[in-house]
Amino acid sequence: MIGADHPVVVGSVLFTDLVGFTEYNEAVGDIEALRVLDEQRSLVDGHLDGQDARLVKEIGDGLMIWIGSAVGALSIATCLLEAFVGIHTSGTFPLAVRMGMHHGESIARGDDLVGQTVNVAARISALAGPGELLVSQELLAACGSHAQASLRPVGPVLVKGLLHPVWLHRFATS
């Protein structure tokens, strides 16, 4: 506990990003871009509903989500990715999504969360390709034997301020 106003919370932080949203917005205009964001939000809300999870904030076309357990985070993220890939492949959603996730302590600042867990999750997200979810070794370790998803090792990412590299694993839909 940092203080009553800034409690430490343990959980998983998931970042999502719509690949090429800025260029898409430029090509189709604001109204259509807004529709895409609304559709994304609706899909995500549906997956978080009733779970120990919440949307922390929207960052442009990206979302930052906090999930209370690593096992729950892996389950929600993989389901969400499959849902996004499904609607994108069928042609009803124009952009691919990419995701990155890390697990650890964050500090609450009002409704927001800050700290290295958040920074690392954002960095991981930036390394994912369209239709991919990258997760850290820390998240898998927190899952223990409950990690059910089919994951493949990707490599270590060096993050400013961290002494040791963060090892990544890739989940991609078939």
Binding site: V19, A27, V28, L127, V154, G155, P156, L158, H164
Partner: protein, 226 residues
């Protein structure tokens, strides 16, 4: 100089390095040899190397799997290796010959000679050149990716950059760009027809067929024969 004897069937070498230069040489040997300042830890057939010196050379057995993470180093991998994964922000990465590669970078220049299986590359704005590969899964935001000869299924995605793929076998291609350009080249003699839904069909000498699905908002996906 640290020598780590290895006798296991499949050797994995995990390297994280803040060095300026990392050189990995796959050669006829059974151990993993590290030249330069590094902390080396061995766990069964897996060797983990943490390097902080200016330059490091790692000598590995032919066919070893590599997992490499750097910030902005020059990474050179010489000789035939197994699966290789590289994560780096910038710098330059060159891989001569691997079973498969998975390279993720923001701005690094990437050169891959050949892979027999999958070649997976993610870059924001770097320039990537791949000689020959099995399947290809390549993504760029605004950079340029050239796959000279793909012999397996291809998945190419770019936002505003450019992807060029030379398709050498009757395999499916899924190409997607927002405002960039994806160009697929097929060998002379392969017939290309476009369907109503903008997907394309390639008919290869011998009767094999494959599909090319193209998706774009304001960019361009085209196919030509050489």
């Amino acid at each position: 100089m640290t020598s780590v004897p290895d006798k296991a069937t499949q050797i994995t070498v995990r390297i994280s390095s803040t060095s300026d230069r990392l050189r990995v040489v796959a050669e006829a040997r059974e151990d993993v040899l590290v030249e330069g300042d590094a902390i080396v830890h061995r766990d069964g057939s897996c060797t983990t190397i943490d390097s902080t010196g200016r330059a490091i050379v790692v000598r590995v057995p032919v066919g070893a799997d590599l997992v490499i993470g750097t910030t902005s180093a020059r990474v050179e991998v010489e000789g035939p290796v197994g699966q290789i994964a590289v994560v780096t922000k910038s710098g330059r990465v060159s891989v001569a010959d691997a079973t498969s590669v998975d390279i993720r970078t923001s701005t690094a220049r990437v050169d891959v000679g050949r892979t027999s299986d999958e070649c997976c590359v993610r870059t924001s704005s770097g320039r990537v050149e791949i000689g020959a590969c099995g399947s290809a899964d390549v993504t760029t935001t605004s950079g340029r990716i050239v796959v000279k000869a793909a012999n397996g299924p291809v998945r190419a995605h770019c936002v505003s950059g450019r992807v060029e793929v030379g398709l050498m076998a009757p395999e499916n291609v899924a190409a997607e760009t927002v405002s960039g350009r994806i160009h697929v080249t097929v060998p002379h003699g392969v017939a290309v027809t476009t369907n109503d839904d903008r997907s394309m069909l390639t008919a290869w000498p011998g009767g094999a067929e494959a599909s090319i699905t193209a998706r774009t908002v304001s960019g361009r996906v085209d196919v030509s024969s050489k």
